[in-house]
């Protein structure tokens, strides 16, 4: 470090006269070797851990599914003990997917709006304050959201539920029979609030990186601020927003404590999303695991494997969407 100023100010010293053979000798330095070992070891460890988890899940799941006296995929009840265990994931899959879809539908548009406001509309001071708050929200533990959801959100949603029932009740999806709204819809809204910060935060980072030169290109053509965003910022940020949404969706699919706190679980699929009941994979595992016998645990693990597969499928689909238009992405600008 001390020699740096002298190097920059003085011309480089002439090369030293060659020793017997300047290129011979040990080609591998200890630092290189240690770092190679560390990084290679980490890579291998990752593969081993992944394989171990997959093998564990698969073996225990096979035991569970082969001992199931009902159809594992379509059965509506969960009795994973006794001489004739009967259990199926239909209700859990339905609840998990529906609550996550509601969460995404509510959270992603709002998150993109907030992110654009922070990156392109808000004055600089307000933007940095908002960015800070959003990052702070992302760090709030999920049980806190769960408590807030159960004690504040649930009693305050009755008004919205009645309104939905009045105007959209005829669809059947939004009919509501004045009870405490501990339903999948409430879970969806709570999950939306929970994933909002992470989706916002990642989207904002992407929008901030949108190249100035493309924004100027749009401006110079006579684009308004919204048109600049539509022509240069959103197309650039598209894959980033998809990635951000996937991060959020991953959290929504796997969320346990907040769902368990808010939902009144039951093994029912209601046509109305506003009726209490239903369940999700993670919530079901958390609430049943401590009292389950060994076979009951296997059954829960099998449901966990299904959740794992759903998550993988969703991520794969997102990657396909991103790759399909790679040619047009901002990356090769």
């Amino acid at each position: 470090m001390n020699s740096a100023p002298s190097i920059s100010s003085a011309p480089p010293p002439p090369p030293a006269p060659p020793a017997a053979s300047p290129v011979s000798g040990s080609a591998v330095r200890p630092g290189d070797r240690i770092f190679l070992g560390l990084s290679r070891g980490s890579g291998i460890a990752l593969l081993v851990i992944m394989a171990a988890i997959a093998a564990f899940l698969t073996v225990r799941s096979v035991i569970a599914v082969s001992g199931d006296h009902a159809n594992f995929l379509t059965y509506f009840e969960w009795t994973a003990s006794g001489t004739e265990p009967k259990f199926g994931i239909a209700v859990l899959a339905f609840g998990t997917v529906v609550s996550s879809v509601i969460a995404m539908a509510v959270a992603v548009p709002v998150a993109v709006g907030i992110a654009l406001f922070i990156s392109h509309y808000a004055p600089r001071k307000l933007a940095s304050l908002l960015g800070y708050v959003v990052d702070l929200l992302a760090a709030v533990p999920s049980i806190i959201y769960g408590l807030w959801g159960a004690l504040f959100l649930v009693p305050h949603l009755t008004g919205l539920y009645s309104w939905l029932d009045d105007y959209l009740g005829w669809t059947g999806i939004f009919s509501y029979a004045d009870e405490a709204p501990r339903s999948l819809f409430t879970v969806g809204i709570l999950l939306a609030i929970m994933i909002l910060p992470i989706v916002t935060s990642v989207s904002r980072e992407v929008f901030l990186q949108a190249p100035k030169m493309h924004e100027e290109a749009a401006l110079a053509l006579g684009a308004t601020r919204w048109e600049v965003i539509r022509m240069s910022v959103l197309p650039f940020g598209r894959s980033g927003v998809i990635s951000a949404s996937m991060l959020g969706l991953g959290r929504a699919l796997g969320e346990t404590m907040a769902v368990a706190t808010v939902l009144s679980p039951s093994f029912l699929i209601n046509t109305s999303l506003l009726d209490g009941g239903g369940g999700t994979f993670a919530q079901n595992i958390a609430s049943k695991f401590s009292e389950a016998d060994e076979f009951g645990q296997d059954a829960l693990i099998a449901s966990g494997l299904v959740l794992f597969v759903i998550t993988l499928l969703v991520n794969g689909a997102a990657r396909l969407i991103i790759a399909r238009r790679k040619e047009y992405s901002g990356a090769n600008a």
């Binding site: 493309h214 290109a217 401006l219 110079a220 006579g222 684009a223 022509m231 197309p235 047009y328 090769n332």
Partner: protein, 259 residues
């Protein structure tokens, strides 16, 4: 098609820093005017005041008047968005929209204006603009491919096609060849020669041979010292600037004896 630009008493600021000071000049319609001068002398800043792009920079503001024929671009009721639809701009680095095809890039401005509705009409304007930018023959078979797949010189001509597609009155070019190789540069210079039949063109360049080759009038900008605002030293016919300028500083600069 082309309009006269008449600038009087124009100063531009970044926050409290004055970047250019009290500039007045006239740019004739259907001519090429080149801005030359050392880096940091405010040529690009001045260029960006001509289509109100300067004020997009945080802290950027402008004092003075820019008349486009009879209309003051900085008048109280003037919409900067409308100004930029009248005064087109081409940038230093080619910047086609990477997510759009070649066709959509050229059509981008037309779709913003909403003037061209019919698909056939749009096709015609895109073809005409690409021909106008001497790019049609190279891209006519791949109009639906992304614009970012073209070479640098082709991308820059695509940007010129995009700018002229909306039929602006004035075309501003900010060092349009500085990122290009000599052959692409020549193609752009030839193009400038053709475009001046239809547009008023203002070009910023660091390349004095380029200024001598393409322009009818040349303006020399300079600054007294670092941190001082840039000033217009003189503007005259290009031939005169490069043979017998009236200010000593201009001669020093173009002959390489500056500082």
């Amino acid at each position: 098609m082309a309009k006269r630009i008449d600038v009087s008493g124009l100063s531009a600021y970044y926050g409290s820093h004055r970047a250019i000071d009290d500039i007045s000049m006239t740019v004739e319609p259907r001519s090429v005017t080149a801005f030359i001068g050392p880096s940091g002398c405010g040529k690009s800043t001045f260029l960006r005041t001509l289509n109100r792009m300067h004020e997009v920079t945080p802290g950027g503001r402008v004092e003075g008047k820019v008349m486009l024929d009879d209309e003051n671009l900085y008048g109280s009721g003037v919409d900067p968005v409308a100004v930029r639809r009248t005064v087109g701009m081409v940038f230093q680095r080619p910047n086609p929209f990477p997510t759009m095809s070649i066709f959509d890039n050229v059509a981008a401005g037309l779709r913003l204006n909403g003037t061209v509705k019919k698909k056939s009409e749009l096709n015609d304007v895109v073809e005409k603009s690409l021909k106008g930018a001497n790019l049609w023959n190279e891209v006519k078979d791949r109009l639906n491919k992304p614009g970012s797949g073209l070479s640098g010189g082709q991308q820059q001509r695509l940007c010129i096609a995009r700018a002229i597609a909306v039929e602006p009155q004035v075309l501003l070019m900010d060092e349009p060849c500085s990122a290009l190789d000599p052959i692409s540069t020549l193609a752009i210079e030839d193009l400038i020669g053709e475009l001046k039949e239809r547009f008023t063109i203002v070009i910023v360049t660091h390349n004095m041979q380029q200024a001598a080759r393409v322009s009818d009038r040349t303006a020399f900008f300079n600054l007294a010292a670092v941190g001082q605002p840039g000033k217009l030293v003189e503007i005259d016919d290009t031939e005169r600037i490069f043979s017998n300028p009236s200010v000593q500083a201009t001669e020093d600069y173009i002959s390489g004896r500056f500082g």
